[in-house]
Symmetry: D2
Subunit: 267 residues, 4 copies
């Protein structure tokens, strides 16, 4: 069902790997709400995933781009504005990967080259995206930029490892760049701190199933799904959220403000 | 313009005094978005204000209720559900009044009877509203309850006086009751922490103009208007925010996350 | 063992009921560290407790005072400064009582007269104490005022009921009055957010044992004891903390920043 | 004056460049309080600064170490424990440098190689220090590790540039590693978020003087000095803070909780 919330808007969506991806659901919902879209992902993720099926569904071109490459991002946004025949209204950053988690390194035995790659892909890419948009003056005034985050940026979930630091970085970039983009262009920048979600990426984390169920039990509304997250992103891209910026917004069924849920103790 | 976001929903709006009121703008926007409405305010506020003009505009009945009276609230919600012919989907609490501010008492010379009246009207009323709704089982599952707050709940704005404590109370009630209402009915409870707003109530605070301008300068997007706040409330009442609960949501053009804006120093 | 951290200082300690009380441990530690003390509690608490044994031990007079009575507080601080032959360096507020918890009322069925009494005793008393000290100019410059709080002020622990709101109020009073006292007298005001503690008051809360054990398991260092809390208070009263003000300080073995401890899942 | 708070303890201090440095003041105060010390800094900082004068004063060896080199850190801690004839009780991390700030790059035109160097030096070094200590089992049980941070980790101060992100990273490392070190060794890890301080490093930031004066005016107690920060660190290294961990502790004269100080508006 559509409320035409994004009619006439142009959006760029990073990170739709397959139909489990939050970015995938966001693209579908944005399409329903009337926006034109450009999809992008890293070349390697495009090979492993099924982004072309999405592209067909939402009638959008796919431009491959490595989000750690300034040149790739420059080309991406040039292609996107050319495709739209105008500036960009909204951008979703949904990119994250931890080398140390993949390699099953303990948090007390991290490899620092891996860590730097993790930060480059998962967080610095967000600054790169914004800096490229800034330099190209590619964002429309009153546009909206959103990245997906996780509460490990504030509190410790040991298995999340260095991704906690990646998300702390990501949220800080949102605040800092949000000041600049807000001042010059009234563009807002926010992060959505989403419940643990059963995506291909999420479920790669050790002990994910136990943790997913724990969070679901702690949260009075249960875990928020990828579909519900897509609804939140639609709001953030729509004109309903014009004055919301530099925020980290918990979308988690109430998890973040629970101290202790008796359900966990079996009480 | 309407996106039909509240089609088929029933809402109760507290606190529309006159057309400067945020609650007034919320009622107008909810009406545009297709909801049925019931308006309510304290009898004394109804005499001083112009709520009947709003009632006519949004085609809603007005039921007077003193939000410090359990009996009044019981009658209000009985009348509302009877009027709707069904349960309530959303409620806006926009009630605040400080006796000590009115009487121009210094924060270091407060009158405690005044303070208790302030808390009763401005914060305990929110618990009363929710407790009455709870006991009457008057909220529809997946409904939404929102109260308006201010950042003085977290940080010190000396002229705001005991309203800081009122808002801290209010936000705590949202979290606590949000747990219960979420667990039983999937009903979400949130507060919106709004920019200083040029309402009849707001402008009564000492030094309000200077402060309004200061906040406007600090915020990268400027102060959020009452109209923009109404948009945020529409989102919170719509199905787009189903998994957002127990949150205090800053709607302030970025004010809350600015440490220092060079514009204030004239740099 | 003493480090003479409070040599030459005068302190007033509220709320030592019996030797389980945190205030009791604070008084003992302050005495060890060389301060002169005045003890005080509500007349009824003095009858039920054993404060006179403490008074003897720390060589301090006991002046009864109902912390909801301005007159009692005025007399208390007059007596204290007379006893000290000078102004007061530090004050501990350790007062809390919930009528609704005692009467086992559900959070969705609270009695509002009880609630107001709870707030008056547990939180407004803190403003009263500071306002009385302010008016009497009884605090020495660079003095220190501390109240004991709990993380329920930020997050939901359902069994803690309306004490969550009391603590939210208390912490807000600390910030607000801290601004005024800091500006005029360089006096600092803080709250310590302490682990659940096995006191006579604490263990009255429903399900306290299960919760105590849960918090102990979540916290990497385990729950902080009353003795450790007394050490923290000594620091806050000493010259080592002169520039710390308007803060809520977690003293909890790390509980507050844990998202999920695998120990809880038995992982 | 000494309170013998660190009698019998062994500490390693990073980052004393010259006598303006906070680390310098910390070393002096730790020495007064009875601890044995090892000093360390990057070879290049040792050449530009005057650490040897400090070493003489506090009777401590200086072991040069590049905090971005695992090998250097391994040697440092081996030398330190050998010098002490035992394990380490406390560590101060006071290291920060921004390449992009030095090169006067705008936040919207950052060089990413510079940024990565900044993070490596200013934040990842903290993880490296802890990981090296962890692997060598060099920390005594109930030891204490502290790093110096700044409120730009939470809020935007535009001139602070990418150091905001560095501090967000640093504080996240403190939480994450604090969980592990607490669980295995009862070692606590915290960050102190200090007022802007007139150090050689601090004053290199653009517009520092104006900002320093602004913060001083906003803070009810004024800016906290390096000496006062040293007192806070002494507390954190002493047995008075045994149960405080994974916290970011504001040491700032109240700045962090001020929303608006009328003094800034000239009211």
């Amino acid at each position: 069902m559509s409320n035409n919330l994004l009619q006439g808007k142009n959006g760029v969506i990073f990170g739709a790997l397959d139909e489990q991806s939050i970015a995938w659901k966001v693209a579908e919902r944005c399409n329903e709400e009337g926006s034109k879209l450009v999809l992008t992902n890293a070349p390697i993720a495009m090979r492993f995933g099924t982004i072309n099926a999405l592209a067909e569904k939402v009638n959008a071109p796919v431009f491959g781009a490595d989000a750690t490459s300034d040149e790739d991002l420059e080309n991406l946004f040039k292609n996107a504005t050319e495709h739209f025949g105008g500036k960009i209204d909204f951008v979703l950053h949904s990119i994250g990967m931890s080398m140390n988690v993949r390699k099953k390194k303990d948090y007390t035995d991290l490899n620092y080259d891996f860590m730097k790659t993790t930060f480059d892909i998962s967080a610095i890419s967000f600054h790169r995206v914004m800096q490229t948009l800034w330099k190209q003056e590619a964002m429309k005034d009153w546009g909206s930029i959103t990245a997906l985050s996780y509460i490990a940026a504030q509190r410790v979930f040991p298995d999340y490892s260095e991704m906690a630091e990646s998300k702390a970085l990501l949220e800080s970039f949102a605040r800092s760049f949000g000041y600049h983009f807000g001042t010059r262009n009234k563009v807002r920048v926010n992060t959505v701190s989403q419940s643990p979600t059963m995506t291909t990426a999420g479920s790669g984390v050790k002990g994910f199933d136990e943790f997913f169920n724990y969070a679901d039990k702690v949260s009075p509304l249960g875990n928020a799904s990828a579909e519900a997250c897509a609804d939140y992103c639609v709001f953030l891209f729509s004109d309903l959220s014009k004055m919301v910026t530099m925020q980290n917004l918990f979308h988690d069924g109430g998890f973040s403000n629970m101290g202790m849920n008796p359900a966990v103790l079996g009480l």
